[in-house]
Subunit: 248 residues, 2 copies
DNA sequence: CCCTAAAGTTTCATAGAGTGAAACTTGGTT
DNA sequence: AACCAAGTTTCACTCTATGAAACTTTAGGG
């Protein structure tokens, strides 16, 4: 039972791992799941029965495969509290989008990854939903820079020392540039994570001065040149500041 | 291990029950949770450690209490598939809202309850987030009528026979009125669930003709008189039809 | 239409995982 | 300081979760 630090419940861990599979793919057959998590068929079967009984997953009537159930919806609806940046920030993000005409995203750091918790698209009237909730690496992109550079010193060190970064990540260079981002109050990226994409991001601080999120404006690199982004930076910083004071 | 039908995993059930507590309240102390689910402190402690390790819950740094973690977000984002009415239906719902000037909601049946999975408010520009995801009883309200009356015959019977309805629910009367709703293609309610509120609802069918949701228009009863609602019904039915063809 | 393969379901003996009582620690209040 | 409540850790025991194997259902091919 003893593991790294706290003692946990194996059966529950396994069940949660099964649930987490649904972030990779929306529909799973039982055997697929068993292979994916490396458990025996009959174990997965029992787990799925349990998860289904509580409404966390459902069986698609047609395909006989498993999907996430409505209880997940219910939970996520209830997690949006008065302090949820995704909800509170929406109007401010829309304002910024209308002002700059580009996609505006809000990122939270979770461990050594970041999650896009809210986004308003540039062109489409209705926001694309797919990319909300995605996990992205914390070592590329303007938002990542912000989420590290403006973190508390201790946390910042811890993140930089993280062994799980890929070899391509240049700690040295990153650390050197960090001072500049801190001075300017924003960071940029050009075709780091995605071909042909560029972004400017600014930190969102809570009233207590703690970093809570990164607000980014992103778009095609040929439109968002470094020069253009520099000119947009003040608007992003201002929006991020307003966003910050709205929180908690 | 043997229970009603399928065999389940007790530890997992307990963990899920703990998670489900967060639909009632957003923040919990450990002892509160232990009392609520009727488990020993140390058991809950272990469960929470497990849930936390996987990111399903987090400890609020300030209050030292537990809240739902970002993994829930991630899951809910991934559950919105190409067939999620909540996402696809939004534009159509907004159209209807703009046309009638009242709140438009979309309900799904889950067991013998219904869930409001999407809503666009009448007045506010930004949609109220709180009530999305709430579970409501299936025996009152226009949407409930629709979610039962337009279900397949077998399912309909099963639902009507459900023993968990309160004594106040008049099966006889319900069944008599059902034919009328089916004939008209919509149902109304006046001050059934909530004082001073009224609603018209129409069924949303998938392309295969299966009932998938109920679309409702609701507002204050003094504005939404039966007469007015009757005149709005065709628009609701049409919007529900359009919504249906968009699905899957 | 039958045969075979794959996927899903149930059964069951066993080990080891989960459990809760109790002891211990931490932090805040009178 | 002493107290109390909340949270955390330990540990022996038992019952629960487990996976192998048998069995059932479904799907596809000859």
């Amino acid at each position: 039972m003893a593991e790294d630090g706290k003692s946990t419940v194996r059966a529950v861990e396994r069940a949660l791992d099964i649930l987490l599979c649904f972030t990779k793919k929306k529909e799973w057959a039982m055997t697929e799941l068993a292979d994916s998590v490396g458990l025996h068929k009959s174990t997965v079967h029992r787990m799925l029965a349990t998860l289904e009984e509580r409404g966390f997953i459902v069986r698609d009537a047609a395909s006989d495969r498993y999907k996430l159930g409505l209880r997940i919806w219910e939970l996520s609806a209830n997690m949006s509290g008065a302090d949820d940046p995704a909800v509170i920030g929406l109007p401010e993000m829309e304002r910024l989008r209308d002002m700059l005409g580009e996609t505006v995203s809000l990122y939270l750091r979770d461990g050594n990854e970041r999650i896009r918790i809210q986004a308003v698209q540039s062109i489409q009237a209705i926001r694309r939903v797919a990319p909300i909730g995605v996990r992205l690496p914390l070592y590329v992109g303007a938002s990542s820079k912000v989420l590290i550079a403006f973190e508390e010193a201790a946390k910042r060190e811890e993140l930089l020392q993280d062994a799980s970064w890929p070899p391509s990540f240049d700690r040295q260079q990153f650390q050197e540039q960090m001072a500049e981002w801190q001075r300017l109050g924003y960071a940029m990226s050009v075709e780091e994570r995605e071909q042909g994409a560029a972004a400017v991001a600014a930190p969102v601080f809570s009233r207590t001065g703690k970093l809570v999120a990164a607000l980014s404006v992103s778009g095609p690199a040929n439109r968002l040149t470094p020069e253009i982004m520099r000119s947009q930076a003040p608007a992003v910083i201002e929006a991020a500041r307003r966003l910050g004071v709205m929180l908690k």
